[in-house]
């Protein structure tokens, strides 16, 4: 049965039908009819952000932490263009979000009307799909299809551009179950190739699981199956930045994160393994380092739901197209039914090698003197919060890498970071989205002072909705990661990598009515963190840390995994040569 209603009402109805409980948005002329409908209902909470970029990152944080699609609503023109960074971020990290944009009325499109922009044109390359809906009758089916596309296959952001006259006009509302779609990505892997992988696992002498964000996107079952597979085979496992939490950091077989700032043992294992089982990762350049020296002796299997990720940069021997959970289930069954075989003796030897690498203890640091080391700050944060129901967001920079190294993630969906795009300003709004999805949880954003300032206006949002997000700023008064590269690569010429004229963060917090804490002495750190945790409300924690600390281990650009720079005494003088310098 169909029902007649206005386009604006359809928007709200479709969101309710899709199970949406929270929308992050910012009003303007071209979305007023929708805001009017939001005003007249109680099913959906609207969170007024302070900038549209914040709305999209909040939707991302909500989506990544709940496993449900995030929704943002913005006006035409500047509202839509402000959303572009968030859309690109979500595309790169495969985060399912639905962004609704207002548009000038259909009869004014193309006339350079006030606040007109070609939203579908601008967002075409930064969305998984987008629509300009010109007829109210089609609006509800597009809305339903949008949720389907955002969440199925490789997830991603979608945009629906809705002209104002379409919002006002009346049309027929179509229920979700009446909508036909041809978009139906393959989730089951090819059994023959899955069997090939099972056979390879039986004889592998130096096997390694290399997991990524795809495991988390596939849903909780995928992480569960992965844990079962790791336990049953006894193989070591590492993960990309995006995959942290799919296997518990406390798990026996965990090698830690791999990649440019990954752990020594993880990267060495990648380089020397003879069977690499890539599960939902994409051979990103932060992972592979120099391509022609990437894990030269291994047979490579790759499980991915996106055919274009397979053989894109690294040629794989066992390509499996499918959803991680589906494929892992079949893989486990096949491997078990063939007798649960592994080459135990060789794998044991492999573990001995790995354990030798572990002895390098690549994350060791010494907290001495009166200045807080960022590594120490995060170790203490870990110690004092790991028992909590905890979600961590980050900004982008050194602090992000340290957070990945020094915090432990036991479960999927607990770690929100901008991996693919590396968007400074992501973490604070994302933490707001996470807290909306998990009102009683402890939500911490590990930030750098420079990144945090990029979306600091959202402190207003946190206050308005009483969201007790903890902003843990590792303040080195530097664009630390930029400074580190300048040190390694540009002759220590620190061009514009100071954070000058920084605000007094405590006063800044207080100006918004929030709590500010400053800490500079390692001896005070625990108490200060406890004070942050015990405060029921948003906290801005200004943790003054060592200004010139570099983030290690580091695989310099253009280098293979086994030429990693380690710790304090690393010979960094000629670490990056001309060939690598051109890379980012």
């Amino acid at each position: 049965m169909t029902k007649a209603m206005t386009g604006a009402k359809m928007v709200v109805q479709a969101l309710i039908d899709q199970g949406v409980d929270t929308v992050f948005g910012y009003p303007g002329g071209a979305v007023l009819p929708i805001y009017d409908e939001i005003f007249q209902q109680n099913s959906i909470k609207h969170v007024l952000v302070r900038h549209e970029q914040g709305a999209v990152h909040a939707a991302e944080g909500y989506a990544r932490s709940t496993g449900k699609p995030g929704v943002a609503l913005v006006t035409s023109g500047p509202g839509a263009t402000n959303a572009v960074t968030g859309l690109t971020d979500a595309l790169m990290d495969s985060i399912p979000i639905v962004v609704l944009t207002g548009q000038v009325p259909t009869f004014m499109i193309g006339s350079d009307a006030f606040q007109e922009c070609d939203t579908v044109g601008i967002t075409r390359p930064c969305t998984k799909h987008n629509w300009l809906v010109k007829e109210t009758d089609k609006l509800s089916s597009v809305l339903h299809e949008a949720f389907h596309i955002a969440t199925s296959g490789r997830p991603g952001p979608v945009v629906i551009d809705i002209p104002k006259d379409v919002q006002f006009a009346t049309g027929e509302y179509t229920e979700a179950r009446q909508v036909e779609t041809h978009y139906n990505p393959q989730v089951k892997g090819d059994m023959a190739i899955i069997t090939e992988l099972a056979i390879a696992m039986e004889t592998a002498k130096r096997p390694l699981f290399y997991t990524g964000g795809g495991v988390i996107n596939s849903g909780p079952a995928a992480s569960q199956l992965l844990r079962e597979l790791v336990a049953a085979t006894g193989f070591p496992i590492t993960s990309t930045l995006m995959g942290l939490g799919c296997y518990p950091a406390s798990g026996e077989n965990w090698l830690g994160m791999l990649g440019m700032h990954g752990l020594y043992e993880a990267n060495m294992a990648m380089h020397d393994c003879d069977l690499m089982i890539n599960i939902g990762a994409r051979f990103d350049d932060r992972i592979t380092g120099r391509l022609d020296a990437f894990s030269p002796g291994s047979t490579k299997a790759h499980i991915d739901i996106d055919a274009s990720s397979i053989n894109k940069v690294i040629k794989v021997d066992i390509p499996i197209l499918g959803d991680v959970a589906h494929v892992l289930e079949d893989l486990l069954n096949v491997w078990k039914s063939r007798g649960r075989k592994t080459d135990k003796e060789s794998v044991q030897k492999w573990w001995h090698e790995i354990n030798d690498w572990r002895k390098v203890d690549c994350l060791k640091f010494e907290q001495k003197g009166k200045v807080i080391k960022p590594q120490y700050a995060l170790s203490r944060l870990e110690e004092l919060t790991k028992k909590h129901d905890r979600y961590i967001c980050t900004e982008v920079g050194q602090h992000q890498m340290w957070a990945a190294q020094y915090l432990g993630f036991e479960d999927p969906n607990r770690w929100m970071t901008s991996g693919g795009l590396g968007t400074m300003g992501y973490g604070f709004p994302a933490s707001i989205g996470v807290q909306m999805g998990h009102p009683d949880a402890l939500v911490i954003n590990v930030a750098g002072e420079a990144s945090w300032l990029m979306n600091m206006q959202e402190l207003g949002t946190a206050m308005q909705y009483n969201l007790p997000v903890k902003q843990f700023i590792l303040n080195n008064e530097r664009l630390g990661m930029v400074r580190q590269w300048q040190e390694l690569l540009h002759g220590e010429r620190y061009s514009s990598s100071w954070s000058e004229s920084l605000p007094d963060f405590v006063k800044l917090a207080e100006a918004f009515g929030a709590k500010g804490i400053i800490c500079s002495d390692p001896a005070d750190l625990d108490d200060a963190i406890m004070e942050m945790l015990n405060h029921d409300g948003p906290v801005l924690f200004d943790c003054l840390v060592e200004k010139h600390e570099n983030c290690f281990p580091m695989i310099p650009s253009g280098k293979p995994h086994n030429e990693m720079l380690l710790g304090e005494n690393a010979d960094t003088a000629n670490a990056i040569q001309a060939g690598g310098a051109v890379m980012v």
Partner: protein, 188 residues
């Protein structure tokens, strides 16, 4: 202490030396892409090629099934085999794309292109132009005392060849449609 020494037993060979590789020779492929006839779909396809740096040698598009809302985009592209595989996978990822067929590898196919040639001249050149047009089975679709417009269909190579011959005979302008292609035989 670092950069670290390369570990015993590990190899510094190129990853690609150790396994069968894709060749790095450029190939020309004709792709038939069946798409939903939606506004913006052509832009998605072209944007993909531009954004990822793939070549478009020729591109044609038209609706082929009005009721079913389908258009067919025929793209001639060139790249290494690995790039061609990427292009197909990337095209397949576009939500509005229903099918991607690589006519170059999926069995024999026919390719045709239509072109219009404006040739001006008098005297012997004019006579030679019409004689060659006859050999190429081009037909005259417009004529004045000092000009012809020829219509020619054939493979892109045939049209190239005709263009070369017409050039010294007063070739003024060419309009080409780009390639349309279908697989041979009974099966679609």
């Amino acid at each position: 202490m670092s950069p670290l020494k390369i570990k015993k037993g590990s190899t510094s060979h190129s990853a690609y030396d150790l396994r069968p590789t894709f060749s790095d020779k450029e190939e020309r492929h004709t792709l038939a892409v069946l798409v939903e006839n939606e506004p913006g779909v052509l832009s998605r396809v072209i944007g993909l090629f531009a954004g990822r740096g793939y070549n478009i040698d020729s591109l044609t598009v038209a609706e082929v099934d009005h009721l079913g809302h389908r258009s067919r985009i025929t793209i001639v592209t060139s790249g290494t085999p690995q790039i061609i595989v990427q292009i197909k996978a990337q095209l397949g990822r576009i939500v509005d794309v229903h099918e991607v067929n690589d006519l170059t590898v999926e069995g024999p196919s026919v390719e045709r292109e239509l072109a219009l040639f404006k040739v001006t001249g008098t005297g012997n050149d004019r006579i030679e132009a019409i004689r060659l047009a006859d050999i190429f089975r081009a037909s005259v679709v417009d004529s004045t005392l000092e000009s012809f417009v020829f219509e020619i269909t054939g493979t892109p190579e045939k049209i190239d060849a005709f263009a070369e011959l017409m050039r010294p005979l007063g070739l003024e302008e060419i309009a080409r449609t780009g390639v349309a292609a279908l697989s041979r035989g009974a099966v679609a």
